[in-house]
Symmetry: C2
Subunit: 420 residues, 2 copies
C-alpha cells in the first residue's frame, strides 16, 4: 500500500441523487414486474446494460478497453499515467430473479466517483479504473465470477470459453454475438489496488444499525453432496426394528451440519439447503436421501476443522447405522482475508466521513476474492433491506448508497493521490 495521501478534501462528496438515478436507469434494462431485474450474462439485455454503462463512461471522458473474456475497463487517466491504476468495479449481470443493486451498485458507484472528480476538476496522480466483470452470478454459465476468475488466472480463458448454457450457447459465441469479445489478453492489465462497494446481502449491518461494513475478508466455502442409502419399505407392515430408514439417518447429519456452524461463532456457518427424498411417498419408508451440506468459516484452520469434524461425525453415523453414506466435496473456496492495509484505508475513510462502521465478513462470493490474488483488495459493504438479495425485492436506502460511494471515493482518492 502507498503512504496515505491526506491532502484529499474531507468535504468532498459524491452526488447521491445522480448515482441513484443511474442505478434506476440501469435497472430498467431487464426490469421485472415485481421491481427486480433479470439481465443474465451475455444476453441481449446484458449487451444493452454494457452499452449504457460504456456510454456514461465515455460521457465522463473515460477510455474503454475490453478483454477476451468481455471484462470492461473504463479508465480515467492519472497525471502519472504509467502508475498502476487504482481500480474499483463489480458486475452488471443479475440472477434470473435478481435485484437492482447487487453488482450494479459497485460499478455505478465507481462511475460516480469519476463524475464527482470531474465536477470538481480534481486530477489524481495514479489513473483510476472502473471494471465491469463478466458473468459474476454464474446463473447462465458456470463457473461463477468468470471474468474476474480468468483475469486473475483462477482458471483458463479456454475453460471459460467452453462453458455452455442450457440451450447449448457457448460463452465465446455469446461474447462474439453481443459484440463484447475484446482483444486484450485477460490479466495483461496492472492493478495497483482494488476496492469493491457492494450491498451486504445479509442482515448484520441493518440489525446493528450501522452504515458501513469494513470487510476484512470472505468466508471460505465447502460444498458437499451427501447420499444416504437405506431400504425402501412400506410404512405400515414394517416394524420399527426392521427398518433401514435413510431419512432418519440423514437428519442426524443435517442436524450436525447446523450444530457445527453454531459451535464456531461468530463466522462459522452450516447449512443444509437441498434435500431430495426417494421415493418421497407418504407411506413408504425412504430408501435414499440426497442432501447438500455447506460449511463456511473465516480462517483456513477453522474451516479445515469443520471439514474434519463433519467427516468424523458421518463416519460414526455410518458405523452405527450400517447404512451406506457417501460424501463428495463438490466445491471448495478457501477463506480470503483482504489485505490489512487496504482494509485500513476503508476503515479510515468511513471514520473520516463520520459514518457508523463495523468490521464485516462477506459470506458470499465476489469478484474481489479473485482480485485479492493479484493486488491488495478490500470491500465496502452497505446494508440492504432485511438482508435480502438475489431476489426481486432486494432494496437499499439512498442514504446508504450515497455513504458507501463516498467511502469508495475517499479510498480511491487516498490511494491514487490528488495531483496538485
Amino acid at each position: 500500500m502507498k503512504t496515505p495521501d491526506l491532502r484529499a478534501d474531507v468535504a468532498l462528496r459524491i452526488n447521491g441523487q445522480r448515482l441513484w438515478n443511474s442505478l434506476m436507469d440501469l435497472a430498467r434494462i431487464g426490469a421485472t414486474p415485481k421491481g427486480g431485474v433479470a439481465r443474465l450474462a451475455l444476453t441481449d439485455l446484458d449487451r444493452q446494460g454494457r452499452d449504457s454503462v460504456i456510454a456514461w463512461a465515455r460521457a465522463a471522458a473515460m477510455t474503454v478497453t475490453i478483454d477476451q473474456i468481455g471484462n470492461i475497463f473504463m479508465r480515467r487517466a492519472g497525471r502519472n499515467d504509467h502508475l498502476p491504476p487504482v481500480m474499483t468495479g463489480s458486475h452488471i449481470d443479475t440472477q434470473p430473479t435478481g435485484g437492482k443493486f447487487d453488482g450494479n451498485y459497485g460499478v455505478l458507484a465507481g462511475l460516480e466517483v469519476v463524475r464527482t472528480l470531474n465536477d470538481h476538476g480534481i486530477a489524481t496522480e495514479a489513473p483510476l479504473e472502473v471494471a465491469v466483470w463478466t458473468n459474476e452470478e454464474g446463473s447462465r454459465f458456470v463457473p461463477v465470477m468468470m471474468g474476474s476468475g480468468v483475469f486473475c488466472n483462477a482458471f483458463t480463458l479456454e475453460h471459460a470459453y467452453r462453458a455452455c448454457d442450457t440451450q447449448g450457447a457457448s460463452v465465446r459465441g455469446e461474447l462474439e454475438r453481443i459484440g463484447y469479445l475484446g482483444v486484450e489478453k485477460p490479466g495483461r492489465h496492472p492493478v495497483g489496488c482494488y476496492f469493491e462497494a457492494h450491498i451486504e446481502q445479509g442482515p448484520v449491518l441493518e440489525e446493528a444499525n450501522t452504515v458501513i461494513g469494513v470487510v476484512k475478508g470472505v468466508l471460505g466455502l465447502r460444498w458437499y453432496d451427501c447420499t444416504v442409502t437405506g431400504t425402501e419399505a412400506h410404512a405400515g407392515p414394517t416394524p420399527m426394528a426392521m427398518r433401514r430408514d435413510a431419512l432418519q439417518v440423514a437428519i442426524r447429519i443435517m442436524h450436525e451440519v447446523v450444530a457445527l456452524g453454531n459451535r464456531y461463532p461468530p463466522h462459522g456457518r452450516g447449512t443444509v439447503g437441498y434435500v431430495n427424498v426417494f421415493p418421497n411417498s407418504r407411506n413408504v419408508i425412504p430408501g435414499q436421501v440426497k442432501f447438500s451440506m455447506d460449511l463456511r468459516n473465516n480462517t483456513v484452520e477453522l474451516h479445515d476443522r469443520m471439514d474434519a469434524e463433519i467427516r468424523a461425525f458421518i463416519d460414526g453415523v455410518r458405523k452405527e447405522s450400517g447404512l451406506a453414506i457417501e460424501v463428495a466435496e463438490v466445491a471448495h473456496y478457501p477463506p480470503c482475508p483482504f489485505e490489512p492495509g487496504c482494509v485500513d484505508v476503508v476503515e479510515r475513510a468511513a471514520k473520516k466521513l463520520g459514518y457508523s462502521h463495523m468490521d464485516s465478513v462477506s459470506g458470499a462470493g465476489h469478484d474481489a476474492i479473485y482480485l485479492a490474488r493479484v493486488a491488495p483488495a478490500a470491500m465496502i459493504f452497505i446494508p440492504c433491506k432485511d438482508g435480502i438479495s438475489h431476489n426481486e425485492i432486494e432494496d437499499a436506502q439512498p442514504s446508504h448508497i450515497e455513504a458507501g460511494a463516498n467511502v469508495l471515493l475517499h479510498c480511491m482518492l487516498e490511494q491514487a493521490g490528488v495531483a496538485r
Copy 2:
C-alpha cells in the same frame, strides 16, 4: 360365529399347482417387462382380468352377480341356500408397478377352494362366495378400497362415482365403458363371515420363518401434513444466530415421529416418507418445509396417545423456535381388530393342518377392514419375499401360496359346514 363343524376332512387339500397356474395366467394380463403387473382399476386390462376370473368361476359352476360399484360376487350354492354366504375375496386391480400376488392371491385362492370342493364332490350347508372388490389400490381413483367401502357403507355410491382419474374419466363412466356397471345395490348382499388371504407385504413372517400369519387386526392409521415456515435467506451472509431455518425445525419433528414409533413396541409405527424443501437450493437457508407424518398402532387408546404426543411435541417446538408450524390430519382410519371367533377359526385351521403360524397384524389397508364392519372377519397372511410389495419384484413361494389357500379352505369349510 357358528359352532365349529369338525367333520370337515382334515386330509382335504387344494391343488397348489392349479392355483399357481391361475395366478400366472392372470398375471399375463398387464404383465410388465420386469415381471410385475400394471392393471389399474377400470381399465381395459382390468376388464380382461375380470372377464377371465368370471369365466373360470362359471367353469366351476358358480353364478355371478355384479353390483353398482362393479364388485363381483361369484357364488357356489349351499344345501341351505338361504343361509348368509361364507365369503372370501380380495381385488385384482394393481399398482402401476404392482406385483402378481397382491389381491390376486385372495381372489384366486377363493376360486381354488371352490374348485377343490367340486373335485371332491363336497357340498356345504351355507353357500360360499368369492368377491372381487373394485379399485382396492386407489392408484387411479381415490378413495382406496372403493368397492368394499361402498359395499360396507363407509362412503356413498355417489361419492365413489364422482371420483375421476387424472385424465378426467369418472368411475361411473369407466364402469359403464368396461361393462361392469351392475344393477345390484351395493350392500344388499348378506355376509355370514369373511376371510381374506393375502401376502403379508411386510418382513415379519419371512424373518420368523413362519408360514401362516393369523391376523388379529389392522393397525389404525393417521396421516398428517406438516408445514414449517421460517425465513429464506442466503447461507453465506446470514450468521447462525439470525436464522429462521425451517428445515432444522422440521427435522426435530421428523426425528420425533420415528422416536414415537419406537416408544410404542411392538405395533407402533412412525414414518416420514415425504419431504418438500423450499426453495431447495444448496446455498439458501430453507424458508419452508412440508412433510408427511404417518402414525399407526393397534388399539384406539395407543393410537390416540401417539396423536396427543406428537401434537404436544409440535406445540413445544413451535413455542421454542418461534416458527409457524401447521399440522393437518388428512386421513384417519381407527385400528380394526378382527372378530376373535373368526381369528380363532384361522388359528385352528393352521394348527390342524400343521403349518407354523404366529399372530400377525396388518400394517396396510385391506378390503377386510371394511367387511369387518358388516360381518365377522379375519385375514390369513403368508410370507412374501423380503417383505416387498407394491413392486414388480413382489414374490411369494408356491408352498406358501398353497398353505394359505389350504387354511382358507378349512376356515370356509368349518364355517359353512359340510353337507352330509
